[in-house]
Symmetry: C2
Subunit: 242 residues, 2 copies
DNA sequence: ACCACTAAATGAACGGCATTCATTTATTAG
DNA sequence: CTAATAAATGAATGCCGTTCATTTAGTGGT
């Protein structure tokens, strides 16, 4: 269980220990045995993992590298997480807290969903390796994620959604969002058919004709198109508010 | 170099060709050096990889296991693929050829898209570890995938879609399909909020009320809902056919 | 017919990875 | 005071993808 890694509540949490690689100098060895003040906690592990991911990407996120970042032996991490997967979970839950749900309540439903969806996609476009983890993640293990669902559910309910369709609607939107997050990371020339171009005339022509007139990144055009279709289609499920 | 040191001396001149793992018995060692008839090719590697995946899942798909399946030393694989990623690519392209595009042409656009999307999702729901690979995969490297795009593009064009919106529309649908494929693999109790239930009343209520009345798997309800919304929304882009 | 080159196999390595275990030391509960 | 527990080290394990030297077989040029 993740034990809310919420930093709003707990403060920096990492601070506690001056032990953090403060001195640029030679990180002198800590002697074996339990230290007087704990060096590690979940919040600190989360912060270090994010720092590492930002600096080296997900390939650079290894248990050894994470331990080094925290100035600790790799095996020490296993007193706080059962496996690397738990580290990814901590990161995932933290990132979810960055998703903007502020539109639900003040703004009309369409606008709230639009803002939430773009924000959600943008956050995870930088963290696609987490998506396979999220997909199978029981919400119990991720308090921030659960909080997001609560806010969004309430927004749907207040907008007049029939209760029994809310979860399916959110799942449909999320599926689109996760798939679209991958799309952001695709190389620009992904659709260049190269030597096979003659064999695929219609597709090649479609790619060419789309190239000319994109406003922003091509992934944004597809995301906008699909999102607006989903908002319109799902919005039709709403009932008159009593 | 003279053939002075004949190692076969001890062996009773194993008549060249029976070397293939003919005998069900103990797969006797192939001697080093290039064999008269090539043992490996891409089709064989693809088939063996699929067999392995079906039997042991993606965790069981290791280069060593694949080599064993093909009765070959692991390093032999690298004469045919540059890296494991290439094996995944071969599998991906094969699977794409299983996606049903037969609706495009005979059936009306809505129905064709519906059939294609369900088929596409069902194929890759069993192969979600490939999704990160597909997402970044230049189509040049996957002829079957390119063929699918060609068929679908033509279907959209014939249905009256403006050429410059076809690629974005397909990408939007694909994003939804990939995200939904993950959803299929999620455990049934993924949304049980457990101990946090009181803190998330609206979400918990929504989950409860959806539980009672599902026809099939919950993932199917969300997929259907989103897909119909996308078909309706994207279909509105069509122009009158000239 | 020779010879250089390339292609396709073996088998022995390599470094990196997540994880486990025995051990040490400190704190906490009874 | 003492037993249990918590949190660290450090050594070791096993697997994984990949590389390299070597062996053998086919191929193309003169």
């Amino acid at each position: 269980m993740l034990e809310t890694t919420d930093e709003r509540a707990g403060m920096p949490a990492v601070s506690a220990t001056q032990g953090r690689n403060a001195g640029s100098a030679g990180t002198q060895r800590r002697r074996a045995g339990r230290p007087s003040a704990a060096v590690l906690d979940k919040a600190g592990i989360t912060t270090a993992a994010l720092e590492l991911i930002n600096r080296k990407g997900y390939d650079g996120l290894t248990m050894a590298a994470l331990a080094k970042e925290l100035d600790v032996a790799p095996s020490a991490l296993y007193n706080h997480v059962a496996a690397k997967r738990d580290v990814l979970l901590l990161v995932e839950d933290h990132l979810t807290s960055l998703v903007d749900v502020s539109g639900f309540g003040p703004a009309p439903w369409e606008e709230a969903v639009r803002g939430w969806a773009w924000s959600y996609r943008n956050v995870f476009a930088e963290h696609t390796p987490l998506i396979p983890v999220i997909a199978v993640l029981p919400v119990t293990d991720a308090p921030q994620t659960l909080a997001m669902y609560e806010t969004v559910s309430k927004g749907f309910l207040d907008a007049g959604f029939p209760q029994e369709r809310i979860v399916s609607s959110i799942v449909a939107l999320e599926s689109f969002i996760f798939g679209s997050a991958y799309d952001v990371t695709a190389p620009a020339d992904i659709f260049e058919s190269g030597s096979m171009a003659e064999a695929t005339p219609h597709f090649t022509a479609a790619v060419r004709s789309a190239e000319g007139q994109v406003d922003g990144p091509p992934a944004d055009a597809a995301f906008s198109l699909g999102l607006e279709a989903l908002i319109a289609g799902l919005g039709a499920l709403r009932e008159q508010r009593g």
